[in-house]
Amino acid sequence: MELSGAEIVVQALIDEGVEYVFGYPGGAVLHIYDALFQQDRVKHILVRHEQGASHAADGYARATGRCGVCLVTSGPGATNAVTGIATAYMDSIPMVILSGQVPTPVIGSDAFQEVDTVGITRPCVKHNFLVQDVRDLAETLRKAFFIATSGRPGPVLVDIPKDTTDPNVKIPYRYPREIAMRSYRPVSKGHPGQIRQAVEAMLAARRPVLYTGGGVILGEASPLLRQLVRATGFPITSTLMGLGAYPMTDRQFIGMLGMHGTYEANMAMHETDCLVAIGARFDDRVTGKIEHFCPHATIIHVDVDPSSISKNVRVDIPIVGPVASVLEDMLRLLAEARCDPERAAIVEWWARIEQWREINCLSYDRANDKIKPQLAVETLYRITDGALYLTSDVGQHQMFAAQFYPFDQPRRWINSGGLGTMGFGLPAAMGVQLAFPEAQVACISGEASILMCIQELATCKQYELPIKILLLNNGYMGMVRQWQELFYESRYSHSYVDALPDFVQLTESFGHVGMRVEKPDELEGALREAFALKDRCVFLDVVVDPTENVYPMIVAGKGHHEMHLSPERELA
């Protein structure tokens, strides 16, 4: 088969089984757009801003586990995509970004719409390529998909100069099925000796904790994690990124840990003598002050990326390998050793945890004439039977969602954890809804965040995506306001969101349904009404208590045992 570079790009996407490309055209990618036009296997979704393209591809990847793909033009197209690329990078999301570039002969001459895309994105991609010859195109694309989806996943960018896609230059095409790279060979199994040592430590533990993260979801290891929790009887906590990998409604789940985690999870971290970290990266939002972190514990860490291990916290038993394979090995050894999930030490440990649980750290003032954001999320949970794909923006609403919407399955909670990118939620929801047209998809947002990618409401209209947007409108950049209240003596410097649009009218002008809810007793009805509109995108502007803060909280520089429950409820 003889194909032009542009046709090779499209054919490679077909050969990779790519369903959707999220993109935006421009000069440098016009040949590719022309090739896209002449086929119907790969569907192109036209976003309204390249940031939306990268977030939508990211959302698609998070929900499906497959590689997200986006296509942008050179210069401003590529720079607009960078925020989404960095977002995916920080959360290890598999994504391939195709960017147009000026023709090879003029690279470096400050040509029209030229930027050094490879240079700009280098620190926020797993790898990137500049294609210099059409004959390298197919293999480079295969490599990009291979690198993006294997080992620790991440975004890979392929910068494609316009002349390499010239429709008049045709070359023989063959897509390499297998690719071997001498410089890149992800590990496929954990070291048996290390795993044995870890299992011995787990069997001897008196106050063990499983601390799990996004790696369990990325590594498709949820079913195995469930077995591990049952086999050991251990309590399990999760990072923000791991929520849903283990059912959050299960008794053995003790809540999220870290800055806004539960009291019981953080206290268990403080007292544990055996911490089993699985696919989690000891982020500073999780560890608090390193000097106070798990002072009594032997630390086991399972991670596919050796550079995650002992990066922030020194680990006693490192295991480099994919979660799924390591958990299988662990389960076999635990079964051989007849691990008893109800041995005396574990029962005692649970009694202690239950005492912490009784504090009921997530309680809030329900009797209020204003809608509490927590109540809004709880109601959302109730009326959707916990079955949503829920994307989020960044701020207080994100934390309330994490605390009050217990996910029982992986890939249902979709949010930007590592970069904390406002504007992520709506475009990410588009990717999810396209992946699962029949599923209920909602985006929880704040009035500040939603405006950062509001233009994507037009994309939702063009493709009739029936996303439900739940706006917790507190009139403030709530998360910023909370920090200013607590650490800057309530000097609310530029955190009041003034001159807000009328969201109902705004949404309606995009062709969607807009609703505004102001009173607690209208909330449930409005939510039900919104979700009953199965084929419409509905925007619910819910006016919530502007003074509410996220608790519990570990303030910067403190340890897990130094949580604040709320101003009214301090611990002894």
């Binding site: 280098r122 500049l130 690198i147 410089s183 890149y184 990326d305 550079s307 002992s310």
Partner: protein, 163 residues
């Protein structure tokens, strides 16, 4: 502690900037870095000198290994190894100083590779300390300019850093 690390890289455009970018982005020290293709033109070999405590150097090695272009890495400081650096020094060589400079060149087993009425260029190879010592030994005020490659290293014994 000082570490001298050898890295075998794919000889790709941009491989060097990935390494340099890694060090600046993560705030690692980089004392010197030399790189050139090996006998196999598809591979480059880099020698990198860095300073840091054990945890930092461990993380540096992991991050270098993680680069997709890295084929193999060896911390030469973990075993017996040889280091060599090339230096060229241009010195003022007026009549009165020429004999003294030639003596120094002999003692250090250096070479004079360019001569004018008023200057020499001296070439010297050795480990970095030897080069430092030569610079210190040149009488004050005679040095016009110094160029050093930074050390390259190789391990002793039959084992090699290869695929």
């Amino acid at each position: 502690m000082r570490h001298i690390i050898s890295v075998l890289l794919e000889n790709e455009a941009g491989a060097l900037s990935r390494v340099a970018g890694l060090f600046s982005a993560r705030g690692y020290n980089i004392e010197s870095l030399t790189v050139a293709p090996t006998d196999d033109p598809t591979q480059s070999r880099m020698t990198l000198v860095t300073v840091g405590n054990d945890d930092v150097v461990e993380q540096i090695k992991k991050q270098l290994n993680k680069l997709i272009d890295t084929i193999k890495l060896l911390d030469l400081s973990e075993g017996p190894h040889i280091e060599r650096e090339l230096m060229m020094v241009k010195v003022r060589a007026e009549r009165a100083d020429r004999e003294e400079l030639k003596r120094l060149v002999d003692i250090f087993r250096a070479k004079i590779i360019d001569v004018t009425d008023t200057s020499f260029v001296v070439e010297l190879t050795g480990d970095s300390e030897k080069l430092d010592a030569f610079i210190d030994a040149v009488p004050k005020g005679l040095i016009i300019e110094v160029v050093r490659t930074g050390p390259s290293g190789i391990s002793r014994g039959p084992q090699g850093l290869m695929l």
